[in-house]
């Protein structure tokens, strides 16, 4: 007993020492390179898979880390100064430009495809007109075998499941684009839900980021949510055909090499770069330039079903983007 007591003292010292050793290992950081200046970006979760692949493939100078916080979050973090660049899948509105006093340059990077995904057992294809979408998301149509939906989808047996819309908790450019699209065909929707990054959906559940939406839709039968095409495919979700301006239903199609697509909900992914000088400008410039060069080669951002849903910029868009980048951040030294 007496021996263990004296030894336990040494034991305590030993455990504290080993803890300190481990902690100091962590502090040493497992290899710090002075060249690895890290530029941090945050923004849309729609483009997160794309930007993440780009950051990994990017060879330097510097390195890039990207976090999905939603398009609204990008503005907030940029204004605080906590990130070096933002990414949004919707252009700055006039109000936002005036609010931020034109402090950011918008540089288009790629085209993403916004889809409406559903979880309906036995259904792999579905048509949803603007009116149906409005009715579903406003809670007017409560069940999937509602006559209005059946009429729109002859030959497809819709199950008798309750409709569960899934929305975003964060301010989302995807939501803005989607609600703008639906509102064009439904004044009631425009009035009640509104268009914008945080629409006022009266019913349904909320999820964080488009990842959260994908998870929610994947796990709940009868749910419907808005997200990016590649993610929907990776999650094994059925996606809806939407009607374009002439009323024709189009299957979700990514933008082609000319930057065009018949599908109505193709969005442009923009980088937001502060015009003021920043500490990591070299890295940001290098990364965005690389994205506009190497990053545009199809499949954009890498292989896999996830990536085949993003489309490159058209030639004109690309040269305009490169010019905007040079205007903002100059040329590489």
């Amino acid at each position: 007993m007496r021996v263990t007591r004296v030894r336990s003292r040494r034991g305590m010292l030993a455990s504290f020492a080993s803890f300190a050793f481990v902690a100091s290992l962590a502090l040493v950081g497992c290899g710090k390179s002075q060249r690895d200046v890290t530029a941090r970006g945050a923004g849309a979760s729609l483009s997160a898979p794309l930007v993440a692949r780009w950051s990994e493939a990017y060879a330097g100078p510097g390195r890039v880390d990207y976090r999905a916080v939603g398009s609204g979050g990008a503005l907030m973090l940029l204004s605080v100064g906590a990130v070096d660049f933002g990414v949004r899948d919707v252009a700055l509105s006039a109000e936002e430009i005036s609010r931020t006093a034109g402090a950011y340059a918008e540089i288009p990077l790629a085209h993403g495809t916004v889809v409406v995904a559903v979880n309906l057992p036995g259904v792999s294809e579905l048509r949803l007109g603007r009116a149906s979408l409005a009715a579903l998301f406003m809670g007017e149509v409560r069940s999937w075998n509602d006559p209005s939906l059946v009429r729109e989808n002859p030959g497809i047996s819709l199950p008798n499941l309750p409709v569960l819309p899934v929305h975003r908790t964060d301010a989302s450019g995807t939501a803005k684009r989607f609600t703008a699209y639906v509102a064009k065909g439904s004044p009631a929707f425009a009035e009640q839900v509104g268009t914008g990054e945080s629409p006022n959906f009266p019913t349904g559940v909320r999820a964080k980021g488009q990842d959260g939406v994908a998870l929610a839709v994947k796990s709940t039968r009868g749910s419907i949510g808005v997200l990016e095409l590649g993610l929907a495919r990776a999650s094994g979700l059925a996606v809806a055909w939407l009607e374009d301006d002439s009323g024709t239903f189009v299957a979700p199609t990514p933008a082609d090499a000319r930057g065009a697509s018949p599908y109505p909900l193709v969005s442009t992914v923009y980088a937001l770069v502060p015009k003021a000088k920043g500490a990591h400008d070299d890295t940001v410039r290098g990364f965005l330039r690389w994205a506009l060069d190497e990053g545009q080669h199809a499949p954009v951002g890498g292989t896999g079903s996830l990536m085949s849903a993003f489309g490159p910029l058209s030639a004109e868009e690309r040269s305009a983007a490169v010019e905007a980048l040079q205007r903002t951040l100059g040329v590489a030294p």
């Binding site: 007993m1 007496r2 007591r5 004296v6 003292r9």
Partner: protein, 263 residues
């Protein structure tokens, strides 16, 4: 207020310490009144008296431990080698190095080894001895436990028996080379054999140190002391040679106490 000279002072004697009109108070009670008494060098002075008579308070005034209790105060003076220990310029820490104390319940530092316990007095004063092993051996020898402990110096202090712990506390005190050793009922929690060993030790220590021992047991006082002081209700009633006080006490209260008429 009572001033009682020794009945038959042994020649020659030197006053190591002296209490002069010493009073002591706690926040809610008076413990000592006007004690004037010498402490003779190289003698064992026993302080006896019933519970609550102030004997513990008295010796705690001799090394300024009384004032550690919040709200406790002293009046009067205590001299060590003729100099006051209560002067405003006097550091109580310095006093306690010269006047050591052994407590009623043995209190070695339980987590420290025997060796570290002995050296703890030095460490607590910021002294790093050049040869600690020599210090440890000398102190344990003086405390009559070197032979027992020489092979168990790394045992934790708390694992010793009661008697060993108390002798370890004495060794710890001796390592600082004090001049006076105060003992507050050092044997009251020990068995008779351990008590006997400590009494033997006190007898031997007298040669080099001055000892004041508070004891509940008159028999112990009679066995161990050269001079005895009898306290009652915060006052010094009688002080004199132990032989004389126990056989021919002058004050009737002394006589009543030593004959056991009250405890």
């Amino acid at each position: 207020m009572s001033t009682v000279p020794p009945s038959t002072p042994p020649p020659p004697h030197v006053e190591k310490m002296r209490a002069e009109n010493l009073g002591a108070k706690f926040p809610d009670a008076v413990a000592l009144r006007g004690i004037t008494m010498p402490v003779i060098e190289h003698k064992v002075t026993a302080v006896i008296g019933p519970s609550g008579c102030g004997k513990s308070t008295f010796i705690r005034c001799l090394n300024r431990m009384h004032e550690v209790v919040p709200g406790a105060t002293t009046s009067g003076d205590v001299l060590l080698d003729g100099k006051s220990i209560y002067g405003s310029a006097v550091d109580p820490v310095g006093v306690r190095r010269k006047v050591g104390m052994v407590f009623q319940k043995p209190n070695p530092f339980p987590e420290m080894s025997v060796r570290d316990n002995v050296l703890s007095g030095l460490r607590l004063n910021g002294i790093r001895p050049a040869s600690p092993d020599v210090v440890v051996e000398a102190a344990l020898t003086q405390a009559a436990m070197w032979d027992e402990m020489r092979d168990s110096l790394d045992r934790p202090g708390g694992s010793l028996s009661g008697g060993q712990q108390q002798r370890l506390c004495i060794a710890r005190c001796l390592a600082l080379e004090p001049e006076v050793i105060l003992m507050d009922e050092p044997c009251s929690s020990l068995d008779p054999i351990a008590t006997a060993r400590i009494e033997e030790l006190i007898h031997d220590l007298r040669e080099r140190y001055t000892i004041v021992i508070v004891t509940h047991s008159m028999q112990q006082a009679a066995r161990v002391s050269d001079l005895t002081a009898f306290f009652y209700l915060g006052e010094l009633v009688e002080y004199g040679l132990a032989d004389v006080l126990f056989t021919r006490p002058e004050d009737p209260r002394t006589e009543e106490y030593i004959t056991g008429r009250f405890g």
